[in-house]
Point group: C2
Chain length 221, copies 2
């Protein structure tokens, strides 16, 4: 059980990568509860993904689980941490200390979550110097210098849509290569930058599909 990148079969798709933190959270809960061994069926029950899906995801990293045997809880957790690069602390910066940024910063605190928010930036002078989740809010004018000095490569954008592209360019110019973007705009950035967009209103719109399906089933039934 030594999960690592390139140890398994094929190139993992982004959707598989997004499931790994979910497995990791469940494994941490199981470790805390004293479970030394976990089966893919246990993981399936606790995550909602199928056993087959879980075994396939782990096989990308060289773990070929055997039906009925089970994994070492701690071993699997540390393997996933290593694959995700979370065996070391990962530093991130947040831009935007509005309601969403505040929620993100507070959410970040006191949880087994591996990503450490090392700086928060905002444009509003009234917010400067405030602490959010233990991190002080600085002026965006300090962004390039602070990001460079701390060597941060992960950024979170929680600013209004109109400001997002400029903020993204500033972050990338200072060395950031992965972005979590909450602004409802498509950022135009160099190809080496990995962007994950989370648009909260689009999530709601997609959910509406399932309501309509229910209404349709009722009409047809």
């Amino acid at each position: 059980m030594a999960l690592r990148r390139g140890a398994g079969v094929g190139r993992p798709p982004d959707v598989a990568i997004k499931r790994l933190p979910v497995y990791l959270r469940v494994l941490a809960e199981l470790e805390a509860a004293g479970s030394d061994v976990v089966s893919s069926a246990d993981l399936a029950r606790r995550t909602g993904f199928s056993s087959e899906q879980i075994r396939k995801d782990l096989a990308y990293f060289g773990s070929f689980g055997t039906r009925g045997v089970g994994y070492s809880t701690a071993g699997l957790a540390s393997g996933i941490r290593r694959v995700l690069g979370l065996d070391r602390e990962v530093a991130a910066v947040l831009v935007g200390a509005g309601h969403l940024g505040t929620a993100l910063a507070r959410y970040n605190v006191g949880r087994e979550q591996h990503v450490n928010l090392v700086a928060i930036f905002d444009i509003d002078p009234a917010k400067l110097g405030q602490e959010l989740g233990g991190t002080r809010v600085r002026s965006v004018t300090e962004l390039p210098a602070v990001v460079r000095r701390l060597g941060v490569r992960l950024g979170v954008i929680a600013v209004p849509a109109a400001a997002a592209q400029t903020v993204a360019e500033d972050l990338v110019g200072a060395g950031v290569v992965a972005l979590l973007n909450f602004a409802p705009v498509k950022l135009s950035l160099p190809a080496h930058v990995q962007v994950q967009n989370i648009d909260l209103s689009l999530e709601l719109q997609a959910l509406a599909y399932y309501l309509a399906g229910e209404a349709e089933a009722a009409r047809e039934g």
Copy 2:
């Protein structure tokens, strides 16, 4: 061009459903800019998804786009709205008026987004009666009666993890069948309820993978 459920080939996967609102947003922008016709290549450039992916997604609903021809912008937009059930207004309730809930409620306002937040609930007496994005905050004790009276079937959970399961059960008990859950817990609910979980710290952990990949490439290169 009459997109509808069941008109196309196969059962659309959830990931295809989640792309439809992205197409819809781009189509709305194009309509506003006066573009009558749009090609899948235009959509690809503006959404970041491939033309093949877009044509495949639309084919689930009976739209078999022809390479080089193009769609009616308005026709495609109204087709997607119909498929998503957004040709009528969809009502939703929000539980939790903290920073995240406030961000969600304000975000909701004044945007072409089809989902209407009709009620907001919180447990904190200090928040009751406040308006967020034009909607008044009510006590959670009113939740069952209000959700039933308004016939709401879509709920958004933005409460702390410890409260989420109870809130979810109250919502489902009052008739909600689709949930957007921001609390970092796996909700245990009847099978007919569609739950979309958004865990902000897990999104950050997944992004860390791409940082680690970059570090690895640098070591190997």
